[in-house]
Symmetry: C2
Subunit: 222 residues, 2 copies
């Protein structure tokens, strides 16, 4: 009738507690919970060995580093490793991440089944998400759905992101060609770089590169 064996990976104790409670509210048996990605992966592996695999993984994205050395320190890596181990594992990400690009990538590149943002009604959202995912649908929090739709924006190419990154790291524009040539990225001419920035500013209706950098930071592009 519902998920039976759930694993929670979340470093914040308080968040971990409330996810446990949310699962309990749904009548799901007490879930296993861990505070480190490495532990999560170990659990998944053990469960597979014992022929009693997890039905669902609920994980955060950012895990804070502390004295405990960990191999895996990010939710994305955990998901990747977990799916690699058990490809049919359902996954819901429960995170404060708010950047559409990043979240879209989770669905597209990692094949997650649901995303719930830590926000006002996150507990209710999480319940809905679990329900949806159980029914083999994907779920995205309501406050994000619109944002993704709104994103009719111009799509930056890898090349664009590369040169924007260089600029944001302090490489001045006229020296960008040097770095492009070193990495065999073409076009590498200064003129091409200039034109590319010009096009980006024009399309996004920005008046300077600083605004472009700010935009990319907000969108999680860089």
């Amino acid at each position: 009738m519902m998920f039976k064996k759930v694993l929670i990976a979340e470093d914040h104790e308080s968040a971990n507690i409330s996810v446990q409670k949310t699962l309990a509210d749904l009548g799901i048996p007490p879930a296993d919970y861990v505070f480190y990605c490495d532990d999560a992966l170990t659990r998944i592996q053990k469960a597979l060995k014992n022929d009693d695999p997890y039905d669902l993984l609920i994980t955060d994205l950012s895990f804070e580093e502390d004295h405990q050395q960990q191999k895996i320190s990010a939710g994305t890596e955990l998901i990747k490793a977990a799916k690699n181990m058990q490809s049919d594992l359902k996954t819901i990400v429960f995170s404060a991440e708010n950047k559409q690009v990043v979240i879209a990538a989770l669905f597209k590149e990692l094949g997650i089944n649901g995303y719930v943002r830590k926000a006002r009604n996150d507990a209710k959202e999480l319940k809905k998400a679990i329900d949806c995912v159980y029914k083999n649908k994907t779920y995205t929090s309501v406050d994000l759905r619109q944002a993704i739709k709104d994103k009719n924006s111009y799509e930056l190419t890898d090349y664009d992101i590369t040169i924007i990154s260089l600029l944001s790291k302090g490489i001045i524009q006229k020296e960008i060609p040097i770095y492009l040539q070193k990495n065999n990225i073409k076009p590498s001419g200064l003129s091409s770089v200039e034109k590319r920035f010009n096009l980006m500013r024009e399309v996004l209706e920005f008046s300077n590169n600083e605004q472009l950098i700010a935009y990319c930071k907000d969108m999680g592009i860089i």
Copy 2:
């Protein structure tokens, strides 16, 4: 023996739930909880009127805006207003903020009694904090790290942040003086603006303004 009447102000439902549970673990009667600052203030006022004031306020710092128009939209303002209404109200802040300067200001300027950062052992920390505050001591979670913070001992002034903001919004440098004059911000001369940017780049060892913008975005300054 312990706090009797506690109010929780926290917009994230999940965080709210876990604070409630933490209080329950301590044998504190079910606390009132609200998701908006305005509601919190109303509750405090009503409790005072009924001669049954709150013993403790546990509040977040950042509250997300939504469709509901609110007068108070930040934890700091809530605390200020609450203390103004009931000066002996004990206050514990429960937030993800980890900039020491900001937290120090909470103790110094708002007279809060405890600070617990949303982090790995936050539920345990919160229990300790409640215990400490009940015994009329103040509490700060040991956890506060300032790894990146310490490196930039140089603090950006309000003026700095203003002109950086303008730049990131697409105002080109030579037009910044116009905006400064309109808002009666001095110095407003282009030369002063230039010098200020120059100083910031020098101190932070940046080579262009794009890098400065990226830095400020990462730090949450803008």
